[in-house]
Amino acid sequence: MDSGYKGYSTTSFGAQGMSSGGGFMPGESNSPAGARSEAVATVRPVTIKQVLDATQAYAGASHQIDGADVDKIFVVGQVRNISVQSTNITFKIEDGTGEVEVKQFIDLNDNMDIDASNPTAVPLGKSQVKLNGYAKFFGRVVTTGNRRNVFSNFARPVTTVNEVHHHFLEATVIHLYFTRGPPQKPDRNPSGAEAGTEARAPGGMGVTDDYGVAAQGRPLPPMSPGARKVYNLLKNEPQSNEGLHVQYIAAKLGVPVTEVVKAGDELVTGGLIFSTVDESTWAILEY
């Protein structure tokens, strides 16, 4: 992902986005553009509400949930309607958090045994997904116009209620991972963590860990992913005791200045960083 940002900033920004001139509004530079081609292949368990609430920087950009790009997803829901069309089967599924249409495209090579007299039996015969039954769908989030759908590659029925519950717990864990960072490890040796941070630091941006421990190995308080990125940059980037300027941070991370300012405010409020020579230059508060 980081290399994606770099590639983007060198080609499109030209002067590393540091120049204040030019007709390029920082607000328009959205990181997903850079990240997209580099998008890591992930599978994320989500609730349907999360699918509906997923944001998209612009049409065609990858969707984001909790500020993180989503590639493939899992949803578990009760099938409320099945409609079979010539090219796809559309399942309307509902999981108590919302309702979404899941389209499963029919692989023509795969359906030599289509029974025209009983079309619903055909593709379902393979997956056995039943009306009003629970099923787990694997697919990706797609936005067409203002409709949010899931294009599914694979579906299978869920036969035990435990799996439904497990899915929601898993979705919650991942949601918390992205909004509050990974679970803290109380047994982690602080000095060991410090050493690890030191070892990574020389690489700078390229090896920055998105989720780390605070300076001196203290666990970081919960914060937004943006704030975490800014904090990690401030921690790892070589700098004078004046810290780093907002513009520099924005260019380094390849995110809009407004986002950095927001993240900075959050960190200042949390007492993790402080402003040095002016309002928009920050340094880590070593406490």
């Binding site: 509400k49 509906l52 509902e94 435990n162 497990h166 919650t172 949601h175």
Partner: protein, 156 residues
């Protein structure tokens, strides 16, 4: 949108999802999980683990069976002539025998002692496994209301 949301709850949360409750304006459809312990024509009672009973107002085509674990989607209503709250059933899902729920995988694996041979139990799965499923539901209910953002719309 909100009409399609039905948060998972326990009997003690019923009041919060009754239409008269201030913070329930967005959602008053809920999901409950329980074992059917009484069937009385148009009403039924489900027992939700050790969280008490809930009276259900059935619809004509809800075919509940005694002793089965069911998941019910319904609206929170005031029961006839009483202060008590119940649920008018919109849909139900039969999850089978509650005792089997936690042991589904186990019974499958027990038929393959070559790949799975627990040392502490050879014949029947341990009882804690039979009860795990409702504990899991309790956790789901807990996170549903703790981290509402990913489960349902709420005014607070």
């Amino acid at each position: 949108m909100s009409a399609l949301q039905a948060p998972r709850i326990l009997p003690s949360h019923l009041h919060a999802f009754h239409p008269s409750s201030a913070h329930s304006r967005t959602v008053n459809t809920v999901r409950l999980l329980g074992t059917v312990t009484a069937l009385r024509g148009e009403t039924a009672i489900i027992t939700c683990g050790n969280h008490g009973d809930v009276t259900l107002q059935l619809k004509a085509d809800s075919h509940l069976q005694m002793g089965k674990l069911v998941e019910v989607v319904g609206k929170v209503v005031v029961l006839d002539g009483g202060q008590a709250l119940g649920v008018r059933v919109l849909g139900s899902m039969d999850w089978g025998n509650p005792a089997e729920c936690g042991t589904y995988e186990w019974s499958h694996r027990f038929s393959r002692p070559d790949i799975f041979q627990p040392i502490h139990c050879r014949e029947t799965p341990p009882t804690y496994f039979q009860n795990t499923d409702y504990r899991m539901y309790e956790y789901v209910v807990d996170v549903t209301h703790r981290y509402k953002k990913i489960f349902y719309d709420s005014n607070d």
